[in-house]
Amino acid sequence: MRPEQSPLLEVKHLNVDYESDSGTVHAVIDVSFTLRRGEILGIAGESGCGKSTLAYAVTRLLNPLAEITGGEILYRGEEASPPGPISSSAGARVGPHPIDIATLSERNLRALRWSELAIVFQSAMNSLNPVMTIGTQIDDVLRTHQPGMTRQQRRERAVEMLRLVGIAPDRLKSYPHELSGGMRQRAAIAIALTLQPKIIIMDEPTTALDVVVQREILNEVLQLRDALNFALIFITHDLSLLLELADTIAIMYAGRIVEQGAQRDLYRHPRHPYSYGLLNAFPTLTGEQRTMYGIPGTPPDLRHPPSGCAFRARCPLAFAACATELPLLQPALPGDTQQVACHLYNPRLHAAPPATEDIAAAYARQSAGRVAR
């Protein structure tokens, strides 16, 4: 465990809606979390659970159909962070802290993005400009945000950035199509790191890559985090990956965080039946060979969310209260840092919280009469 550091980003009761022809989609509902300096927060969930929307909302890069309808995104960037290996130069000045990103003006947002808060997208091929060399793209970021730097200084910084992510400096003159998928993703990370942001958001950064390349990039990211002490929000559908990378993990389902806690706690004892299902949704390389089961059913239509708990239709342990009352995040057990939004852990509604084995047994029973999806 890394020592507890001060909060850098506090998201409070964030809501994001999409307007569609067939109604309003509540993509992110009442999401709150805290990201500390140097921390890696992993967000996992199936497609459509709102994890990417959450990332875009935090950077205010939502597409025009989506809107933040409530909540705060408090950024506390003021506290001096320990100097990294790169010489720090004047970043954007974005006023006194904390800043609420949710209500920031376009002009101040531009100053904040890249210099304080950077994002790496899933497909680096689409996020890099195909007609500009890698060097020019880094140069562009520096010219825009740090007009004081000379051409020579910018070039030196670009070389330094590429070195940091393990790309040979002669690649400065390469166009994106001349690089392999892994190289492109490294280049995208280099560009994100150029202004030494305090927060980096990575949305499925390695999903399109092969396992060996993915492993290399993840190791690279961990080393860079240790060297530069940025905080990282890592979004993926692959929970097994997060367990190896993240300090804390939040599981999203149907727009809400249904469980969050330290990576170790979540791996040892997932509390929410959905978290258990996700954790056991992929075969393992080691251990006894046994028949495994997925999670039955499909996520609900977010235009018409069900009453109570959104997971109840798929949950093997659902009971009457799940249909009538909305579960909120609360400590799984009294005094626990692991939080779960599930009535099974509410002493008022359910006698005793289930053990991990109980959840496993319930899934096995349920899979006996399985309907396809």
Binding site: D210, E216, H237, E244, Q263, A281, L285
Partner: protein, 350 residues
């Protein structure tokens, strides 16, 4: 519900004979280089494999390893540049027309992307009925409907009547993949070639589709070629696993044997790189070291000899000169690597 080991014994019985065999398959694709130069992509070199009824063979490799190319040669989407195919012991003639249709009656391919493999303007019934009629399993429209309903039931799309007239856009990814599987079953095949059948689907659905395929394999005694980039999935689904690197088969054998005791340095790298929470220690951190780096080389101008040698921590001068012959390690486990034997007969040109 079943528990315990899902696999039958790792070795085929003495009586088992392969239904589909590939010997020394090679595939080269001509591509147009810049300034009109003719280049050749050496996609697959010397691939040999055998599929047995009721058993699954997994082909594992990263993108560009040639696994899809092998499946497509077996499905006869395209013909190999060299090598032979034998179906039920008889050499396959690489001809089109009726011979090809007859071959496809026995060997079917399931694609990775269920969003692209179904025709968006036709309903589920059309996809199934057309095949049933073309292959002569159904003589009348009523028969076709009856058989289509039975197929939907087999892939657990129930109630089948509800799914019969749905269009692809009305189905979830998992349901589409089930329709694609039903379509492959429509011709009563003996061999199914599944090319990454779950990788486009949501994680929570993977196991259900894998379990369905396994059930079909056992019920119909189907021979399976199962292609995946995920070696853990190969272990779960297939009795045997072959590992491919840059078009060369580097290791193979019973899945558990290959995965628990990998011999080839590439297989070891692949397994070390795969995420696996079971290998985290009490502190929640990975303890095993993760060595080599790099990516699959260009197949237009591949490295000489063993194509893994530029990335291999154990590379020797001989690795650059020729591709090692197959070394048998016992228990059906084999590898092509000089670390385990000085293969004196090169099995492929390089």
């Amino acid at each position: 519900m079943t528990s315990g080991a899902p696999h039958v014994s790792p070795q085929p019985g003495a009586v088992a004979t392969p239904i589909l065999e590939a010997d020394h398959l090679q595939k080269r694709f001509p591509v147009q280089g810049s300034f009109g130069r003719q280049l050749t992509v050496r996609a697959v070199e010397d691939a040999s494999l055998a599929l047995y009824p009721g058993r699954a063979l997994a082909l594992v490799g990263e993108s560009g390893s040639g696994k899809t190319t092998i499946a497509r040669m077996l499905a006869r989407v395209y013909d190999p540049t060299a090598g032979t195919l034998r179906f039920q012991g008889k050499p396959v003639q690489f001809a089109g027309g009726a011979a090809l249709r007859d071959y496809r009656r026995h060997v079917q391919l399931i694609f990775q992307d269920p969003f692209a493999s179904l025709n968006p303007v036709h309903d589920v019934r059309y996809h199934l009925a057309r095949l049933l009629r073309v292959h002569g399993h159904a003589k009348t429209s009523a028969q076709a409907t009856q058989q289509a309903l039975a197929l939907l039931q087999r892939v657990s799309l129930t109630p089948a009547e509800q799914f019969l007239y749905k269009y692809p856009h009305q189905l979830s990814g998992g349901q589409r993949q089930r329709v694609a599987i039903a379509r492959a079953l429509a011709v009563h095949p003996q061999v199914l070639l599944a090319d990454e059948p779950v990788s486009m689907l949501d994680v929570s659905i993977h196991l259900d589709i894998l379990n369905l395929l396994r059930q079909l394999k056992n019920e119909d005694h189907l021979a399976f070629l199962f292609i995946t980039h995920d070696i853990a999935t190969a272990r779960y689904f297939a009795e045997e696993t072959n590992v491919l690197y840059a078009g060369q088969m580097v290791e193979g054998g019973p899945s558990d044997e290959v995965i628990q005791h990998p011999k080839h340095p590439y297989t070891q790298l692949l397994i070390a790189a795969a995420p696996d929470p079971a290998r985290l220690n009490a502190e929640g951190k990975r303890v095993d070291a993760l060595p080599a780096r790099g990516e699959i080389p260009s197949l237009v101008n591949p490295p000489t000899g063993c194509r893994f040698h530029p990335r291999c921590p154990h590379a020797m001068p001989v690795c650059r000169e020729r591709f090692p012959a197959r070394t048998d390690l016992g228990n059906g486990h084999w590898t092509h690597c000089f670390l385990y034997g000085d293969g004196t007969t090169t099995t492929q040109p390089s």
